[in-house]
């Protein structure tokens, strides 16, 4: 079924069918009705490719999930607890405003080839990227070529001026981490360790900064012995504890995300430290699991829905040229008090 056939059946020309579909004003009501009736009867929907070829935009955005890890860790992507809810929210918001979402994964640098292809072949009119490291050259080159891009969790450095042509949506990592650390300090803790995330991602770097800021404000000397590097996955939190407790014995821990906090709790249990009686621990992200671990995990919550909405809305605005708004958004984090932290009395 195509517009020619519809035209014949309705007794008009293809031009008129097209005018009806595209809501041209200069079609008399009864002609419109007549055509609409035939369209409905035959379930006719114009061929998307033909429309595009004629200049309409694809009404499709890409959602690119980047998760580049060492080979040994590759399997972990499948149970990433963070991308799922974000993805669903992106799809939902996009669909609501008439856009489709094409989802692509990038596990290795060379997978960016797939992404470029769907940009070059006009399948997508723009894309949202999650999980990219700071200053990623692949993303930069895409932006330079003029493609519309929104990025979650990206630092804008002075030398990366090119990012000013994209939409950046970040969590307020700095203040969130500051609040998390301050919360521990207010509970009376002074020996507070930090398990970092990937330091080449904004969320890793900025959360370390927030931790430092809170210590400084409370006149607690920053001590590198209390810092262990992690990479946002459970195992790294688990390993961090074993490494950490060989050197020092903190009374509280701020883990850069919940997954590492949960791994850390397992290790603490093995070492026979009770949480929160012996050691308090706070995470970041408020993933679904955190409510269900024992003790339930105190953490900083950021609205993924809000982040998804900001990405989709602004990307689409930019695609449709309503405005060339390219902006940086900061979504705040909020403390969720649960059972993994305890006041110190001395």
């Amino acid at each position: 079924m195509n517009s020619k056939e519809i035209a014949k059946i309705a007794g008009v020309s293809r031009s008129t069918v097209s005018r009806v579909i595209n809501n041209y004003p200069n079609v008399p009501p009864d002609t419109r009705e007549k055509v609409l009736k035939v369209i409905k009867e035959y379930n006719y929907v114009p061929h998307a490719s033909a429309r595009m070829l004629r200049g309409k935009t694809s009404k499709t955005i890409g959602l690119v999930i980047v998760d580049i890890k060492k080979d040994s860790e590759i399997h972990r992507i499948y149970d990433n607890v963070y991308f799922g809810p974000f993805t669903t929210a992106v799809v939902d918001f996009a669909n609501r405003i008439g856009y489709n979402v094409l989802i692509t994964t990038v596990f290795k640098v060379k997978d960016y080839k797939k992404v470029k292809e769907i940009f070059y072949n006009k399948t997508i009119s723009g894309a949202i990227f999650v999980g990219v490291r700071n200053s990623d050259p692949e993303i930069k080159s895409l932006i330079e070529e003029g493609f519309k891009i929104a990025i979650v969790d990206q630092e804008i450095k002075e030398e990366d001026e090119v990012f000013n042509k994209s939409i950046i949506v970040n969590m307020d990592n700095l203040n969130g981490s500051y609040e998390a650390t301050k919360y521990l300090i207010n509970l009376g803790h002074k020996e507070i360790a930090h398990i970092t995330g990937d330091l080449d991602k904004l969320s890793g770097f900025a959360r370390l900064e927030g931790y430092k800021k809170a210590l400084k404000e409370a006149d607690i000397t920053y001590d590198a012995h209390y810092i262990v590097k992690g990479n946002f996955v459970e195992e790294s939190g688990y390993n961090a504890i074993h490494k950490l407790f060989k050197k020092v014995k903190p009374t509280a821990i701020f883990a850069a995300n919940d997954q590492m906090a949960i791994g850390a709790m397992q290790a603490l249990q093995e070492l026979e430290y009770a949480v929160p009686e012996d050691v308090s621990i706070i995470g970041f992200d408020d993933i679904t699991i955190s409510r269900y671990v024992k003790p339930s995990l105190t953490t900083m919550s950021v609205s993924l829905l809000q982040m998804a909405e900001l990405c989709v809305e602004n990307l689409v605005k930019s695609i449709e040229g309503e405005s060339s708004i390219v902006a940086k958004f900061l979504v705040s984090a909020k403390l969720i008090e649960r059972d993994s932290c305890k006041k110190i009395i001395d």
Copy 2:
């Protein structure tokens, strides 16, 4: 940049450019090289819509996530722990064989309109459906219209002959539930309750059947008082326990999925029943959370990767007409013993 320009620069005709791109054999090596060089230099990728219009398939499949619930529950979709890993796996397998994945959510029956549209307008050449209830008329009509469809978790009833034209990928719910229940029986339990899932979904219905089958085999009388209806979400597991323990006092519980098992564990704790000391509990699905709850949850694990692979591979085969294979696949479930079940000694 289009094929005409590439042709001009390379000093050939558009026909030749097209032949190079489509790997026609009748292009001499040096001509091919010459053209390829220009293509590379200009990052030229043929316009996907133009190719489609000329008859190539879209190389895009849909992934339709159906989650129709009452309004009051709508927010829950965002943290569905099940679709995330499956989605990533589908995307990964599809991308590997050169297919894109368009993802769409269906929260209300009328959202199926979106799905039909992308079929009718040729954006997708086929689709994988998850979360649909048994015998869903919307899906049936799509299959009847000749669209290529794979469905996860769907019962094939005699009267639904139309499903024989689609690809069905199911977990082995019956045997899995049978094994789960039998495991409890072997541990010495005789008073075993069951929290059901949505009974209008295959996974809900068939898991109840497996439970019954195991009881029967062990000569334990089936008693409806030990059955509570749930709907696969945590709250329903939680509520089920409160309802259940007003009537009976089972020593073991088989929950139709892990989420309900986890909700149930919370309720048991409130009622001051220790797990597994007072009550044993087993779930189904082995979601990520289950490793981290305390006590860790014994459950039946099904490979979502394998299910994703079966869906993608067979759907693509069917689209490309390699074979008109339309088959039913059954992916087996395997017991994961953890800490939530205990042997009864008497």
